[in-house]
Protein backbone atom coordinates (compact mmCIF):
# COMPACT_ATOMS: atom_id res chain seq x y z
CA UNK A 1 0.00 0.00 0.00
CA UNK A 2 1.40 3.40 -0.94
CA UNK A 3 1.90 6.01 1.73
CA UNK A 4 -0.39 9.03 1.79
CA UNK A 5 2.73 11.21 1.70
CA UNK A 6 6.31 10.28 0.99
CA UNK A 7 8.94 12.97 1.30
CA UNK A 8 12.54 12.42 0.36
CA UNK A 9 15.36 14.89 0.96
CA UNK A 10 12.99 17.82 0.75
CA UNK A 11 14.85 21.11 0.85
CA UNK A 12 13.86 24.74 0.48
CA UNK A 13 16.23 27.62 0.21
CA UNK A 14 14.75 31.11 -0.05
CA UNK A 15 17.01 33.17 -2.26
CA UNK A 16 20.23 32.09 -3.91
CA UNK A 17 21.41 28.50 -3.27
CA UNK A 18 24.68 29.67 -1.71
CA UNK A 19 23.58 32.76 0.16
CA UNK A 20 19.85 32.25 0.73
CA UNK A 21 17.91 31.25 3.83
CA UNK A 22 17.76 27.49 4.34
CA UNK A 23 14.20 26.97 5.57
CA UNK A 24 13.88 23.19 5.15
CA UNK A 25 16.97 21.02 5.17
CA UNK A 26 16.83 17.59 3.48
CA UNK A 27 13.75 16.38 5.28
CA UNK A 28 12.61 12.77 4.80
CA UNK A 29 9.45 11.20 6.23
CA UNK A 30 6.30 9.26 5.37
CA UNK A 31 2.70 9.70 6.42
CA UNK A 32 0.70 6.48 6.56
CA UNK A 33 -2.75 6.13 5.07
CA UNK A 34 -5.47 6.94 7.59
CA UNK A 35 -3.36 8.46 10.33
CA UNK A 36 -3.35 11.90 11.90
CA UNK A 37 0.21 13.08 11.52
CA UNK A 38 1.29 16.06 13.57
CA UNK A 39 3.97 18.41 12.36
CA UNK A 40 5.31 20.29 15.35
CA UNK A 41 7.96 22.90 15.68
CA UNK A 42 8.77 26.35 16.95
CA UNK A 43 8.27 29.46 14.84
CA UNK A 44 10.58 29.57 11.86
CA UNK A 45 11.34 25.83 12.10
CA UNK A 46 10.06 25.12 8.58
CA UNK A 47 6.56 23.79 9.30
CA UNK A 48 4.55 26.01 7.00
CA UNK A 49 7.24 25.97 4.33
CA UNK A 50 7.09 22.17 4.30
CA UNK A 51 3.33 22.17 4.18
CA UNK A 52 3.27 24.66 1.31
CA UNK A 53 5.61 22.44 -0.66
CA UNK A 54 3.42 19.41 0.03
CA UNK A 55 0.37 21.27 -1.27
CA UNK A 56 2.10 22.50 -4.47
CA UNK A 57 2.05 26.14 -3.38
CA UNK A 58 5.82 26.35 -3.11
CA UNK A 59 8.49 24.86 -5.32
CA UNK A 60 11.09 22.78 -3.48
CA UNK A 61 14.73 23.59 -4.09
CA UNK A 62 15.53 19.90 -3.91
CA UNK A 63 13.93 16.57 -3.09
CA UNK A 64 10.88 14.56 -4.00
CA UNK A 65 7.27 14.53 -2.81
CA UNK A 66 4.83 11.72 -3.54
CA UNK A 67 1.15 12.13 -2.68
CA UNK A 68 -0.64 8.77 -2.88
CA UNK A 69 2.21 7.65 -5.12
CA UNK A 70 1.99 10.64 -7.48
CA UNK A 71 5.16 12.66 -7.84
CA UNK A 72 4.26 16.33 -7.44
CA UNK A 73 7.07 17.42 -9.74
CA UNK A 74 5.71 15.43 -12.68
CA UNK A 75 2.11 14.58 -11.93
CA UNK A 76 0.54 17.17 -9.64
CA UNK A 77 -3.01 17.03 -11.06
CA UNK A 78 -4.14 13.67 -9.56
CA UNK A 79 -2.43 14.59 -6.30
CA UNK A 80 -4.27 17.92 -6.16
CA UNK A 81 -7.59 16.14 -6.62
CA UNK A 82 -6.87 14.09 -3.49
CA UNK A 83 -5.82 17.02 -1.32
CA UNK A 84 -7.88 19.33 0.86
CA UNK A 85 -6.17 22.38 2.31
CA UNK A 86 -7.12 24.45 5.36
CA UNK A 87 -4.57 27.24 5.57
CA UNK A 88 -3.66 29.11 8.72
CA UNK A 89 -5.89 32.02 7.82
CA UNK A 90 -9.51 31.15 7.08
CA UNK A 91 -9.52 32.13 3.44
CA UNK A 92 -13.23 32.30 2.80
CA UNK A 93 -14.74 34.87 0.45
CA UNK A 94 -16.27 37.38 2.82
CA UNK A 95 -18.45 38.93 0.10
CA UNK A 96 -20.18 35.60 -0.47
CA UNK A 97 -22.56 33.65 1.74
CA UNK A 98 -21.55 30.37 3.36
CA UNK A 99 -23.62 28.54 0.78
CA UNK A 100 -22.00 30.35 -2.15
CA UNK A 101 -18.53 29.73 -0.76
CA UNK A 102 -19.25 26.01 -0.67
CA UNK A 103 -20.85 25.94 -4.10
CA UNK A 104 -17.90 27.81 -5.57
CA UNK A 105 -15.44 25.31 -4.08
CA UNK A 106 -17.58 22.38 -5.19
CA UNK A 107 -17.55 23.71 -8.72
CA UNK A 108 -13.80 24.40 -8.59
CA UNK A 109 -13.15 20.80 -7.53
CA UNK A 110 -15.63 19.47 -10.09
CA UNK A 111 -17.93 17.81 -7.59
CA UNK A 112 -20.71 16.37 -9.81
CA UNK A 113 -23.40 19.00 -10.24
CA UNK A 114 -26.14 16.71 -8.89
CA UNK A 115 -24.21 16.13 -5.66
CA UNK A 116 -23.19 19.71 -4.87
CA UNK A 117 -26.26 20.96 -3.06
CA UNK A 118 -26.63 17.77 -1.02
CA UNK A 119 -22.99 17.75 -0.03
CA UNK A 120 -23.06 21.47 0.87
CA UNK A 121 -26.11 20.94 3.04
CA UNK A 122 -24.57 17.91 4.74
CA UNK A 123 -21.43 19.88 5.59
CA UNK A 124 -23.25 22.99 6.76
CA UNK A 125 -25.37 20.85 9.06
CA UNK A 126 -22.36 18.91 10.36
CA UNK A 127 -20.47 22.12 11.03
CA UNK A 128 -23.42 23.87 12.64
CA UNK A 129 -23.74 26.52 9.93
CA UNK A 130 -26.92 25.49 8.18
CA UNK A 131 -28.99 28.25 9.81
CA UNK A 132 -26.41 30.80 8.62
CA UNK A 133 -26.10 29.50 5.09
CA UNK A 134 -27.45 32.68 3.50
CA UNK A 135 -25.40 35.08 5.64
CA UNK A 136 -22.40 36.78 4.05
CA UNK A 137 -19.34 35.43 5.79
CA UNK A 138 -18.02 38.90 6.62
CA UNK A 139 -20.56 38.70 9.46
CA UNK A 140 -19.22 35.36 10.71
CA UNK A 141 -17.18 34.92 13.88
CA UNK A 142 -13.63 33.62 13.63
CA UNK A 143 -14.76 30.15 14.72
CA UNK A 144 -17.56 30.07 12.13
CA UNK A 145 -15.15 31.08 9.38
CA UNK A 146 -12.75 28.39 10.51
CA UNK A 147 -15.47 25.76 10.34
CA UNK A 148 -16.56 26.98 6.92
CA UNK A 149 -12.96 26.93 5.76
CA UNK A 150 -12.68 23.28 6.78
CA UNK A 151 -16.00 22.48 5.12
CA UNK A 152 -14.73 24.08 1.89
CA UNK A 153 -11.57 22.00 2.08
CA UNK A 154 -13.43 18.70 2.31
CA UNK A 155 -16.37 19.28 0.00
CA UNK A 156 -14.73 17.07 -2.63
CA UNK A 157 -14.07 14.30 -0.07
CA UNK A 158 -10.26 14.47 -0.16
CA UNK A 159 -8.34 11.46 1.03
CA UNK A 160 -5.65 13.72 2.49
CA UNK A 161 -6.39 16.87 4.47
CA UNK A 162 -3.77 19.47 5.34
CA UNK A 163 -4.59 21.63 8.35
CA UNK A 164 -2.32 24.52 9.22
CA UNK A 165 -2.78 25.72 12.80
CA UNK A 166 -6.52 24.96 12.90
CA UNK A 167 -7.37 26.30 16.36
CA UNK A 168 -5.24 29.30 17.44
CA UNK A 169 -7.29 32.38 18.19
CA UNK A 170 -10.46 30.36 18.79
CA UNK A 171 -12.32 30.12 22.06
CA UNK A 172 -12.14 26.79 23.90
CA UNK A 173 -15.56 25.68 22.69
CA UNK A 174 -14.80 26.34 19.01
CA UNK A 175 -11.35 24.75 19.32
CA UNK A 176 -12.85 21.63 20.86
CA UNK A 177 -15.54 21.47 18.18
CA UNK A 178 -12.89 21.64 15.47
CA UNK A 179 -10.78 18.97 17.13
CA UNK A 180 -13.90 16.79 17.24
CA UNK A 181 -14.43 17.37 13.53
CA UNK A 182 -10.83 16.41 12.79
CA UNK A 183 -11.29 13.15 14.70
CA UNK A 184 -14.54 12.50 12.86
CA UNK A 185 -12.96 13.09 9.45
CA UNK A 186 -10.11 10.78 10.35
CA UNK A 187 -12.54 8.13 11.55
CA UNK A 188 -14.20 8.34 8.14
CA UNK A 189 -10.88 7.50 6.49
CA UNK A 190 -9.26 10.86 5.79
CA UNK A 191 -5.53 11.08 6.40
CA UNK A 192 -4.77 14.31 8.26
CA UNK A 193 -1.52 16.26 8.14
CA UNK A 194 -1.74 18.66 11.07
CA UNK A 195 0.72 21.53 11.32
CA UNK A 196 0.59 23.01 14.78
CA UNK A 197 2.59 24.65 17.49
CA UNK A 198 -0.01 23.57 20.05
CA UNK A 199 1.63 20.63 21.70
CA UNK A 200 -1.38 19.49 23.67
CA UNK A 201 -3.48 19.55 20.52
CA UNK A 202 -0.98 17.27 18.81
CA UNK A 203 -0.89 15.05 21.88
CA UNK A 204 -4.66 14.63 21.85
CA UNK A 205 -5.16 14.25 18.11
CA UNK A 206 -2.13 12.68 16.50
CA UNK A 207 -1.17 9.07 15.90
CA UNK A 208 2.40 10.19 15.25
CA UNK A 209 4.18 13.49 15.44
CA UNK A 210 7.24 14.84 13.72
CA UNK A 211 9.17 17.56 15.49
CA UNK A 212 10.97 19.88 13.12
CA UNK A 213 13.60 22.30 14.32
CA UNK A 214 15.90 24.56 12.31
CA UNK A 215 14.53 23.00 9.12
CA UNK A 216 15.37 19.43 10.11
CA UNK A 217 13.26 16.62 11.45
CA UNK A 218 14.44 16.10 15.01
CA UNK A 219 12.28 13.07 15.68
CA UNK A 220 9.19 11.20 14.50
CA UNK A 221 7.27 8.96 16.87
CA UNK A 222 3.99 8.43 18.67
CA UNK A 223 3.27 10.99 21.40
CA UNK A 224 3.46 8.33 24.12
CA UNK A 225 6.79 6.93 22.98
CA UNK A 226 8.20 10.43 22.73
CA UNK A 227 7.15 11.16 26.28
CA UNK A 228 8.71 7.92 27.54
CA UNK A 229 12.00 8.84 25.92
CA UNK A 230 12.28 11.75 28.31
CA UNK A 231 11.89 10.13 31.71
CA UNK A 232 14.25 12.63 33.24
CA UNK A 233 11.62 15.32 32.84
CA UNK A 234 9.17 13.65 35.21
CA UNK A 235 7.78 15.93 37.86
CA UNK A 236 5.88 16.32 41.10
CA UNK A 237 3.23 19.02 41.27
CA UNK A 238 2.34 20.40 44.68
CA UNK A 239 -0.06 23.06 45.98
CA UNK A 240 0.59 24.33 49.51
CA UNK A 241 -1.35 26.62 51.84
CA UNK A 242 -1.06 29.22 53.18
CA UNK A 243 1.17 31.32 50.93
CA UNK A 244 2.40 28.32 48.98
CA UNK A 245 3.56 30.64 46.20
CA UNK A 246 6.34 32.01 48.37
CA UNK A 247 8.09 28.66 48.85
CA UNK A 248 9.44 28.22 45.32
CA UNK A 249 13.07 28.82 46.15
CA UNK A 250 13.02 26.47 49.12
CA UNK A 251 11.22 23.75 47.14
CA UNK A 252 13.82 24.09 44.40
CA UNK A 253 16.49 23.32 46.99
CA UNK A 254 14.97 19.98 48.02
CA UNK A 255 16.99 16.87 47.30
CA UNK A 256 16.40 15.52 43.78
CA UNK A 257 14.72 18.63 42.35
CA UNK A 258 16.33 19.77 39.09
CA UNK A 259 14.00 22.60 38.07
CA UNK A 260 11.11 24.43 39.68
CA UNK A 261 8.29 25.98 37.67
CA UNK A 262 5.37 27.93 39.05
CA UNK A 263 2.10 26.68 37.55
CA UNK A 264 -0.64 29.01 38.78
CA UNK A 265 -1.12 28.28 42.49
CA UNK A 266 1.05 25.18 42.25
CA UNK A 267 4.74 24.37 41.95
CA UNK A 268 6.01 21.82 39.47
CA UNK A 269 9.21 20.19 40.70
CA UNK A 270 11.14 18.35 37.98
CA UNK A 271 13.00 15.28 39.13
CA UNK A 272 14.34 11.98 37.85
CA UNK A 273 12.74 10.11 40.77
CA UNK A 274 9.25 11.33 41.72
CA UNK A 275 8.52 8.56 44.30
CA UNK A 276 11.64 9.56 46.24
CA UNK A 277 10.66 13.23 46.16
CA UNK A 278 7.12 12.77 47.50
CA UNK A 279 8.07 12.14 51.17
CA UNK A 280 10.61 14.97 51.00
CA UNK A 281 7.90 17.40 49.95
CA UNK A 282 5.51 16.16 52.64
CA UNK A 283 8.24 16.53 55.28
CA UNK A 284 8.97 20.05 54.06
CA UNK A 285 5.28 21.03 54.35
CA UNK A 286 5.04 19.58 57.86
CA UNK A 287 8.22 21.32 58.97
CA UNK A 288 6.89 24.70 57.77
CA UNK A 289 3.32 24.29 59.02
CA UNK A 290 1.89 24.10 55.48
CA UNK A 291 -1.15 22.15 54.37
CA UNK A 292 -0.72 20.02 51.24
CA UNK A 293 -3.76 20.91 49.10
CA UNK A 294 -2.72 18.63 46.23
CA UNK A 295 0.25 16.48 45.40
CA UNK A 296 0.61 14.66 42.06
CA UNK A 297 3.33 12.89 40.17
CA UNK A 298 3.40 13.72 36.47
CA UNK A 299 4.88 11.72 33.62
CA UNK A 300 6.76 13.73 31.02
CA UNK A 301 4.34 15.63 28.81
CA UNK A 302 4.69 15.99 25.07
CA UNK A 303 5.49 19.61 25.79
CA UNK A 304 8.46 18.50 27.90
CA UNK A 305 9.66 16.21 25.14
CA UNK A 306 9.18 18.98 22.61
CA UNK A 307 11.17 21.45 24.66
CA UNK A 308 13.96 18.96 25.18
CA UNK A 309 14.16 18.28 21.47
CA UNK A 310 13.90 21.85 20.29
CA UNK A 311 16.29 23.14 22.91
CA UNK A 312 13.70 25.16 24.81
CA UNK A 313 14.06 25.45 28.55
CA UNK A 314 11.52 23.76 30.76
CA UNK A 315 9.59 26.34 32.65
CA UNK A 316 10.01 29.02 30.03
CA UNK A 317 7.59 27.71 27.45
CA UNK A 318 5.21 30.44 26.38
CA UNK A 319 1.85 29.63 24.89
CA UNK A 320 1.81 31.97 21.95
CA UNK A 321 -1.09 34.04 20.89
CA UNK A 322 -1.94 34.72 17.27
CA UNK A 323 -0.32 38.13 17.57
CA UNK A 324 2.95 36.69 18.84
CA UNK A 325 3.60 34.76 15.70
CA UNK A 326 5.28 36.35 12.69
CA UNK A 327 3.18 37.26 9.70
CA UNK A 328 2.55 34.38 7.37
CA UNK A 329 4.38 35.84 4.42
CA UNK A 330 7.36 37.27 6.19
CA UNK A 331 10.68 35.94 4.93
CA UNK A 332 12.32 33.82 7.54
CA UNK A 333 9.25 33.90 9.69
CA UNK A 334 7.62 30.87 8.24
CA UNK A 335 6.83 28.10 10.58
Amino acid sequence: MTHAIEVENLTKIYGQPNSGVLAVDHVTFEVHQGEIFGFLGPNGAGKTTTQRMLTTLLEPSEGRILIDGHDLAHDAYPAKRRIGLVPEESNVYTELTAWDNLMFTASLYRVPRADRAGRARELLETFGLWEKRDVRTENFSKGMRRRLSIAMAIIHRPSLLFLDEPTPGLDAQSARAIQGLIRQLNAEGTTVFLTTHRIEEANQLCDRVAIINHGRIATIDTPERLKRTFQRVQSVEVALEPNGQTHGKALGGLAGVTTTVKMGDKWRLYTEDPPALLPVVIDYAAAHGLRVVSLNTLAPSLEDAYLEITGGQIGTVMHETQEDRPRRRGMGGRG
Binding site: E89, L96, L108
Partner: protein, 254 residues
Protein backbone atom coordinates in the same frame (compact mmCIF):
# COMPACT_ATOMS: atom_id res chain seq x y z
CA UNK B 1 -7.12 8.19 -23.31
CA UNK B 2 -8.45 10.88 -25.62
CA UNK B 3 -11.80 10.83 -23.84
CA UNK B 4 -9.91 11.41 -20.57
CA UNK B 5 -8.14 14.32 -22.18
CA UNK B 6 -11.45 15.67 -23.45
CA UNK B 7 -12.97 15.40 -19.97
CA UNK B 8 -9.96 17.18 -18.49
CA UNK B 9 -10.23 20.04 -21.00
CA UNK B 10 -13.95 20.31 -20.26
CA UNK B 11 -13.20 20.40 -16.54
CA UNK B 12 -10.53 23.04 -16.97
CA UNK B 13 -12.82 25.28 -19.03
CA UNK B 14 -15.54 24.91 -16.40
CA UNK B 15 -13.01 25.79 -13.68
CA UNK B 16 -11.88 28.91 -15.56
CA UNK B 17 -15.53 29.91 -15.85
CA UNK B 18 -16.08 29.23 -12.13
CA UNK B 19 -13.14 31.48 -11.21
CA UNK B 20 -14.39 34.23 -13.52
CA UNK B 21 -17.96 34.16 -12.22
CA UNK B 22 -16.75 34.20 -8.62
CA UNK B 23 -14.47 37.17 -9.27
CA UNK B 24 -17.20 39.13 -10.99
CA UNK B 25 -19.50 38.55 -8.01
CA UNK B 26 -16.85 39.35 -5.42
CA UNK B 27 -15.05 42.32 -6.95
CA UNK B 28 -17.45 44.35 -9.08
CA UNK B 29 -18.24 46.76 -6.26
CA UNK B 30 -14.75 47.05 -4.79
CA UNK B 31 -13.45 50.65 -4.72
CA UNK B 32 -10.28 49.68 -6.61
CA UNK B 33 -12.32 48.30 -9.48
CA UNK B 34 -14.79 51.18 -9.51
CA UNK B 35 -12.04 53.79 -9.54
CA UNK B 36 -9.50 52.26 -11.89
CA UNK B 37 -11.86 50.18 -13.98
CA UNK B 38 -15.20 51.86 -14.29
CA UNK B 39 -14.68 55.59 -13.76
CA UNK B 40 -11.19 56.10 -15.14
CA UNK B 41 -12.08 55.70 -18.86
CA UNK B 42 -14.90 58.22 -18.53
CA UNK B 43 -12.62 60.69 -16.70
CA UNK B 44 -10.03 60.30 -19.41
CA UNK B 45 -12.59 60.71 -22.14
CA UNK B 46 -14.12 63.87 -20.72
CA UNK B 47 -10.72 65.32 -19.79
CA UNK B 48 -9.47 65.14 -23.33
CA UNK B 49 -12.65 65.51 -25.34
CA UNK B 50 -14.82 68.18 -23.75
CA UNK B 51 -14.72 71.55 -25.51
CA UNK B 52 -12.83 70.09 -28.43
CA UNK B 53 -14.28 69.81 -31.86
CA UNK B 54 -15.17 66.18 -31.87
CA UNK B 55 -18.06 64.58 -33.75
CA UNK B 56 -20.41 62.24 -31.90
CA UNK B 57 -19.22 59.21 -33.89
CA UNK B 58 -15.53 60.01 -33.32
CA UNK B 59 -16.29 60.55 -29.66
CA UNK B 60 -18.05 57.21 -29.38
CA UNK B 61 -15.20 55.35 -31.11
CA UNK B 62 -12.73 56.98 -28.72
CA UNK B 63 -14.88 56.26 -25.65
CA UNK B 64 -15.24 52.61 -26.62
CA UNK B 65 -11.50 52.18 -27.10
CA UNK B 66 -10.87 53.87 -23.73
CA UNK B 67 -13.40 51.80 -21.80
CA UNK B 68 -12.16 48.52 -23.24
CA UNK B 69 -8.56 49.52 -22.59
CA UNK B 70 -8.90 50.82 -19.04
CA UNK B 71 -11.55 48.53 -17.66
CA UNK B 72 -10.07 45.27 -18.96
CA UNK B 73 -6.64 46.16 -17.64
CA UNK B 74 -7.83 47.17 -14.19
CA UNK B 75 -8.99 43.78 -12.91
CA UNK B 76 -5.71 41.83 -12.86
CA UNK B 77 -3.58 44.35 -10.94
CA UNK B 78 -6.30 44.74 -8.34
CA UNK B 79 -7.72 41.26 -7.88
CA UNK B 80 -4.64 39.02 -7.79
CA UNK B 81 -2.58 40.97 -5.20
CA UNK B 82 -5.74 41.41 -3.12
CA UNK B 83 -6.34 37.65 -3.18
CA UNK B 84 -2.71 36.97 -2.36
CA UNK B 85 -3.02 39.30 0.64
CA UNK B 86 -6.16 37.74 2.09
CA UNK B 87 -5.02 34.20 1.31
CA UNK B 88 -7.77 33.22 -1.09
CA UNK B 89 -5.33 32.94 -3.97
CA UNK B 90 -3.77 29.87 -2.35
CA UNK B 91 -7.17 28.20 -2.61
CA UNK B 92 -7.08 28.71 -6.39
CA UNK B 93 -3.43 27.72 -6.79
CA UNK B 94 -3.96 24.51 -4.81
CA UNK B 95 -7.06 23.52 -6.80
CA UNK B 96 -6.78 20.74 -9.39
CA UNK B 97 -6.42 22.92 -12.46
CA UNK B 98 -3.54 24.15 -14.54
CA UNK B 99 -2.01 27.57 -14.08
CA UNK B 100 -3.12 28.49 -17.59
CA UNK B 101 -6.73 27.67 -16.64
CA UNK B 102 -6.50 29.96 -13.64
CA UNK B 103 -5.05 32.75 -15.76
CA UNK B 104 -7.74 32.31 -18.39
CA UNK B 105 -10.36 32.61 -15.67
CA UNK B 106 -8.72 35.79 -14.40
CA UNK B 107 -8.48 37.11 -17.97
CA UNK B 108 -12.18 36.48 -18.44
CA UNK B 109 -12.99 38.65 -15.42
CA UNK B 110 -11.28 41.74 -16.85
CA UNK B 111 -12.74 41.00 -20.26
CA UNK B 112 -16.21 40.66 -18.80
CA UNK B 113 -15.99 44.00 -16.99
CA UNK B 114 -14.66 45.64 -20.16
CA UNK B 115 -17.46 44.28 -22.31
CA UNK B 116 -20.06 45.35 -19.75
CA UNK B 117 -18.73 48.90 -19.31
CA UNK B 118 -18.16 49.44 -23.02
CA UNK B 119 -21.72 48.15 -23.55
CA UNK B 120 -22.94 50.94 -21.26
CA UNK B 121 -20.80 53.45 -23.19
CA UNK B 122 -22.19 52.15 -26.47
CA UNK B 123 -25.80 52.39 -25.32
CA UNK B 124 -25.18 55.92 -24.04
CA UNK B 125 -23.62 56.89 -27.36
CA UNK B 126 -26.49 55.44 -29.32
CA UNK B 127 -29.20 56.90 -27.08
CA UNK B 128 -27.89 60.42 -26.47
CA UNK B 129 -25.93 61.18 -29.62
CA UNK B 130 -27.91 59.12 -32.12
CA UNK B 131 -24.68 57.67 -33.44
CA UNK B 132 -24.86 54.84 -35.96
CA UNK B 133 -22.59 51.81 -36.06
CA UNK B 134 -21.08 51.18 -39.49
CA UNK B 135 -19.96 47.59 -38.87
CA UNK B 136 -21.61 46.00 -35.81
CA UNK B 137 -19.85 42.63 -36.14
CA UNK B 138 -16.49 44.31 -36.34
CA UNK B 139 -17.42 46.33 -33.27
CA UNK B 140 -18.31 43.17 -31.36
CA UNK B 141 -15.12 41.41 -32.43
CA UNK B 142 -13.07 44.49 -31.57
CA UNK B 143 -14.56 44.84 -28.12
CA UNK B 144 -14.06 41.15 -27.33
CA UNK B 145 -10.54 40.88 -28.66
CA UNK B 146 -9.54 44.24 -27.19
CA UNK B 147 -10.96 43.15 -23.85
CA UNK B 148 -8.95 39.92 -24.06
CA UNK B 149 -5.71 41.65 -25.01
CA UNK B 150 -5.89 44.40 -22.38
CA UNK B 151 -7.08 42.03 -19.70
CA UNK B 152 -4.01 39.81 -20.21
CA UNK B 153 -1.87 42.96 -20.13
CA UNK B 154 -3.34 43.80 -16.73
CA UNK B 155 -2.89 40.20 -15.66
CA UNK B 156 0.83 40.42 -16.39
CA UNK B 157 1.07 43.24 -13.84
CA UNK B 158 -1.18 41.41 -11.39
CA UNK B 159 1.12 38.41 -11.59
CA UNK B 160 4.03 40.31 -10.06
CA UNK B 161 4.57 38.53 -6.73
CA UNK B 162 3.23 41.06 -4.25
CA UNK B 163 0.40 41.22 -1.75
CA UNK B 164 -0.19 44.92 -2.12
CA UNK B 165 -2.40 46.00 -5.05
CA UNK B 166 -0.83 49.48 -4.91
CA UNK B 167 2.54 48.00 -5.87
CA UNK B 168 1.22 47.00 -9.26
CA UNK B 169 -1.68 49.37 -9.84
CA UNK B 170 0.62 52.38 -10.04
CA UNK B 171 3.06 50.98 -12.63
CA UNK B 172 0.25 49.43 -14.62
CA UNK B 173 -1.64 52.74 -14.66
CA UNK B 174 1.54 54.56 -15.68
CA UNK B 175 2.10 52.17 -18.57
CA UNK B 176 -1.50 52.48 -19.68
CA UNK B 177 -1.32 56.27 -19.60
CA UNK B 178 1.84 56.10 -21.66
CA UNK B 179 0.18 53.85 -24.20
CA UNK B 180 -2.82 56.13 -24.26
CA UNK B 181 -0.80 59.09 -25.52
CA UNK B 182 1.15 57.22 -28.18
CA UNK B 183 -1.69 55.18 -29.62
CA UNK B 184 -3.70 57.46 -31.82
CA UNK B 185 -6.54 57.84 -29.38
CA UNK B 186 -6.29 61.61 -28.94
CA UNK B 187 -4.26 62.35 -32.05
CA UNK B 188 -5.39 60.32 -35.06
CA UNK B 189 -2.75 58.13 -36.69
CA UNK B 190 -3.13 59.98 -39.95
CA UNK B 191 -2.08 63.26 -38.29
CA UNK B 192 1.01 61.80 -36.58
CA UNK B 193 4.59 62.32 -37.71
CA UNK B 194 6.17 59.16 -39.20
CA UNK B 195 8.32 58.58 -36.11
CA UNK B 196 5.30 58.89 -33.81
CA UNK B 197 3.38 56.55 -36.10
CA UNK B 198 6.16 53.98 -35.86
CA UNK B 199 5.91 54.12 -32.08
CA UNK B 200 2.12 53.97 -32.21
CA UNK B 201 2.25 50.72 -34.16
CA UNK B 202 3.98 49.11 -31.17
CA UNK B 203 0.94 49.65 -28.97
CA UNK B 204 -2.02 47.27 -29.10
CA UNK B 205 -4.28 50.19 -28.20
CA UNK B 206 -3.55 51.67 -31.63
CA UNK B 207 -5.16 48.66 -33.24
CA UNK B 208 -8.11 48.70 -30.86
CA UNK B 209 -8.74 52.39 -31.62
CA UNK B 210 -8.40 51.75 -35.34
CA UNK B 211 -10.91 48.89 -35.09
CA UNK B 212 -13.38 51.14 -33.28
CA UNK B 213 -12.91 53.70 -36.03
CA UNK B 214 -13.66 51.05 -38.65
CA UNK B 215 -16.65 49.79 -36.71
CA UNK B 216 -18.22 53.13 -35.77
CA UNK B 217 -17.03 55.51 -38.50
CA UNK B 218 -16.61 52.98 -41.28
CA UNK B 219 -12.95 53.85 -41.94
CA UNK B 220 -9.54 53.40 -40.35
CA UNK B 221 -5.84 53.49 -41.14
CA UNK B 222 -5.01 49.81 -40.80
CA UNK B 223 -6.67 46.76 -42.31
CA UNK B 224 -9.34 45.48 -39.86
CA UNK B 225 -8.08 41.90 -40.10
CA UNK B 226 -4.63 43.12 -39.05
CA UNK B 227 -6.15 45.01 -36.10
CA UNK B 228 -7.94 41.85 -35.00
CA UNK B 229 -4.87 39.67 -35.47
CA UNK B 230 -2.65 42.04 -33.47
CA UNK B 231 -5.13 42.16 -30.60
CA UNK B 232 -5.40 38.37 -30.52
CA UNK B 233 -1.65 37.81 -30.73
CA UNK B 234 -0.80 40.51 -28.18
CA UNK B 235 -3.35 38.96 -25.80
CA UNK B 236 -1.69 35.57 -26.14
CA UNK B 237 1.75 37.15 -25.82
CA UNK B 238 0.85 38.94 -22.57
CA UNK B 239 -0.06 35.58 -21.01
CA UNK B 240 3.57 34.54 -21.21
CA UNK B 241 4.95 36.98 -18.58
CA UNK B 242 2.00 36.07 -16.34
CA UNK B 243 2.93 32.39 -16.52
CA UNK B 244 6.59 33.19 -15.87
CA UNK B 245 5.82 35.48 -12.94
CA UNK B 246 3.51 32.92 -11.34
CA UNK B 247 6.23 30.27 -11.60
CA UNK B 248 8.66 32.73 -10.10
CA UNK B 249 6.23 33.44 -7.24
CA UNK B 250 6.04 29.69 -6.58
CA UNK B 251 9.80 29.57 -6.25
CA UNK B 252 9.95 32.67 -4.07
CA UNK B 253 7.03 31.53 -1.94
CA UNK B 254 4.95 34.68 -2.33
Amino acid sequence: MSSQKGARIKDELAQAWTVAVKDVRVYYLRPGMIMFGFLMPFFMFFSFSVRRELGAAEGLARLLALTVFFTAGAAGPFIIPTERRIGTYDRLLAAPMSLLTLLLGKTAVGAFFAVAVSGVALLAGLAFFGTGIAQPWLLAAGIFLGAFSFSTLGLAFGSIPTTNPGDVQMPSTLLRWGLLFISGVFIPLSQMAPAAQAVAYLSPLTYAQDLMNHAVLGSGQIQPWLDLAVLLLSGLLFLWPSLRLHRRARVLGR
